[in-house]
């Protein structure tokens, strides 16, 4: 229990727009333990990024966390004021974005940006801060870090920039890193390099990691646990083996069937009909029911969290329990 770095309970983040309320995140619960990697999977608009932003406290109006607890090492982040949040952000909790230029300032040299980050939370000399920055660049596999410190972001390739962003996230050896699709824009060989670094960090430093992605294949190789989001809700959680080998929720099942894999060469993919619903004024009940082959009248009500097996949670009235057999 005490080993949980992050425990999210019943979190809801809603956006109050002129057109209506968008329940981007609606009553979700999950946890990440020290040194573990949680894969948060979902399609665009499923609320996975907003979940990340909620945890690190970067939800802007008209968005607001409307209910729930975010326990970070036992402390509820939703109760902190702005100053306390700033103390944690970038220090104990860090975020890596899909576009590294969201982290990097294009007109400042890398060393300026990194030293600034170190000094924001630690009172050390500039020399020490520089040393730490250089070590962090070396750790993420940037060749000749001493020279690269004096470069500007535009002098790096996309993969290298993402490494710099990761190095900045690592400067304070955070307890939790939230990575929002950090390798989606990268090429396969570069993505593998980044994944290798991240894996090593989780193992060696004990950082807990939330890896947000739409790519089940990346999660399959990287994560320990998986949480599947659909239309603002977590519909299924469990270990990667359990969820990918024996999916219980029809959506997870459909998602896995949609991924082209080597066994199914040339055959039709098992597609999910229809498309993801708009989150604006989403009606009550299971949001997947219009696309679900198992849906019936019961699905018009909200399915509660259930715990079909040890270590798994599920939100479905008609789970594919035959998968367990």
């Amino acid at each position: 229990m005490n080993d949980l770095t992050l425990e999210v309970q019943g979190l809801s983040t809603h956006f109050f727009t002129r057109a209506g309320v968008v329940k981007a995140v609606d009553d979700i619960s999950f946890s990440v333990a020290r040194g573990r990697v949680l894969g948060l999977v979902g399609e665009s608009g499923s609320g996975k990024s907003v979940t990340g932003f909620s945890v690190i406290g970067l939800v802007d109006p008209p968005g607001r966390i409307t209910s729930g607890k975010i326990l970070f090492r036992g402390r509820d982040l939703t109760k902190l004021d702005e100053r306390e949040q700033r103390d944690l952000r970038g220090n104990r909790i860090a975020m890596i974005f899909q576009d590294p230029m969201m982290t990097l300032n294009p007109v400042l040299r890398i060393d300026t940006q990194m030293i600034e980050t170190v000094l924001a939370h630690d009172s050390v000399s500039r020399e020490v801060a520089r040393q730490r920055s250089r070590d962090a660049l070396g750790m993420v596999g940037i060749p000749s870090p001493e020279e690269r410190l004096t470069s500007y972001p535009h002098q790096f390739s996309g993969g290298m920039r993402q490494r710099v962003a990761i190095a900045i996230a690592l400067l304070h050896r955070p307890d939790l890193i939230i990575a929002d699709e950090p390798t989606t824009a990268l090429d396969v060989t570069i993505q593998a390099q980044i994944l290798a670094e991240v894996q090593r960090l989780a193992r060696e430093v004990g950082t807990a990691l939330i890896w947000i992605t739409h790519d089940l294949s990346v999660i399959a190789g990287l994560a320990d646990d998986i949480a599947v989001m659909y239309a603002g809700r977590i519909v299924e959680t469990g270990s990667v083996e359990a969820v990918l080998d024996r999916p219980l929720h029809p959506y997870t099942h459909g998602l896995i069937g949609s991924v082209p894999s080597r066994n199914a060469r040339g055959s039709r993919l098992r597609q999910i009909p229809g498309m993801t619903p708009s989150l604006l004024n989403l009606p009550a009940g299971c949001a997947f029911r219009s696309r679900c082959p198992r849906a019936d009248a019961a699905c018009a009500a909200d399915p509660p969290d259930s715990f079909p097996v040890e270590g798994r949670t599920l939100r479905c009235f008609h789970p594919q329990l035959e998968m367990m057999a």
Binding site: I190, G221, D224, P260, A264, L269
Partner: protein, 345 residues
């Protein structure tokens, strides 16, 4: 089989044959730059213009009814190659044969007909549709201009194209922004099919789509192939997608094709070290928590590619000869060609 007279039966002649095709992009110099250049030249120094060889002497044959996957990382020239195949970008060097004949010998009528036979589907379903046209106009414009349909048949024809691409014709008076990404991609497909092509060039056509939508579009491509007897050049960086769809696969690295073989062959017995590394890196849904080991180094800039074999700085098997000479594609097994010096050792 190649270069036959135009009268050969259609079945034996490849739809598209590329011979030593290259594409170079250079900067067009303004007058000041040209003057400094000629001044430098006058002073006896050597002047080299910065030229990107996006595609470098590529041979590729695509037979009728085949799906050829073209794989490579960003900047390797795969999109440029696709555009040259589709006839919307002229090559700097080399020959494109369409149904066995050099496209440069075509008269204007013939060239237009050949162009209609090859259609392209683009990656970005947002940028590739004119936002100011209603979607029935987008789909029906080309067939009307090319007189495939008269004014009276317009509506029925557009409806048929919509149905074939899995769209509801009831929405045909809407604008592109009123559709989701997957539906827009279907509009792009309906537009391409409306001129009755035989050959589709799909440039990352599913890369921008969510997984569940991607599966729908891939299924649509496969259905259309059966119904319409289409030939595809399927360009993608996603090996999973290419493996699923293709009969034959060509792997590109920095402007050159480094390996080409039947899909099953290349995925089970990759020959080129780059292909091997690429296949090892692909995240797969059936692998579990694994050690990622990466190919070292970055993808070099195509402006200044490494000498000899472009892959040698990253290759675990690099030998002195790799730095000096570029390997050529050689047959390593029936129907399997690879460009690596290891094969000629």
């Amino acid at each position: 089989m190649s270069g036959g007279p135009p009268a050969v039966t259609a079945a034996s002649v490849p739809v598209i044959e590329l011979k030593g095709i290259s594409k170079r992009f250079g900067k067009t110099l303004d007058i000041a730059a040209r003057m400094t250049q000629s001044a430098r030249r006058a002073m006896g120094s050597k002047v080299e213009e910065p030229v990107v060889k996006a595609v470098d002497r590529v041979d590729l044959t695509i037979n009728r009814g085949e799906v050829v996957g073209l794989v490579g990382e960003s900047g390797c020239g795969k999109s440029t190659l696709g555009r040259m195949v589709a006839g919307i970008m002229p090559p700097s060097d080399g020959t494109v044969l369409f149904e066995g004949r050099d496209i440069r010998t075509f008269g204007s009528d013939e060239a237009r007909r050949a162009k209609l036979k090859v259609q392209m589907i683009f990656q970005d379903p947002y940028a590739s549709l004119n936002p100011r046209l209603r979607v029935d106009e987008i789909v029906g414009e080309a067939p009307r201009v090319h007189k495939l349909i008269g004014p009276e048949g317009f509506d029925a024809y557009v409806d048929a194209q919509f149905n074939r691409a899995g769209l509801d014709p009831a929405y045909k008076r809407r604008y592109p922004h009123q559709f989701s990404g997957g539906q827009r991609q279907r509009i792009g497909i309906a537009r391409a099919l409306a001129v009755q092509p035989e050959f589709l060039v799909c440039d990352e056509a599913v890369a921008a789509l969510d997984v569940s939508i991607q599966a729908q579009i891939l299924n649509l491509f496969m259905d259309l192939r059966e119904q319409l007897d289409l030939t595809y050049l399927f360009i993608s960086h996603d090996l999973g997608v290419v493996e699923h769809l293709s009969d034959r696969v060509a792997i590109m690295y920095l402007g050159r094709i480094v390996e080409e073989a039947a899909a099953e062959e290349i995925f089970s017995r990759p020959n080129h070290p780059y292909t091997q590394a690429l296949l090892a890196e692909v995240p797969r849904i059936d692998t579990r928590k694994r050690q990622f080991t990466a190919i070292k180094g970055e993808i070099p800039s195509p402006i200044n590619p490494p000498s000899g074999c472009h892959f040698h700085p990253r290759c675990p098997h690099a030998m002195p000869v790799c730095r000096e000479r570029a390997p050529v594609l050689e047959t390593v097994a029936p129907g399997h060609r690879s460009a690596c010096h290891l094969n000629t050792q």
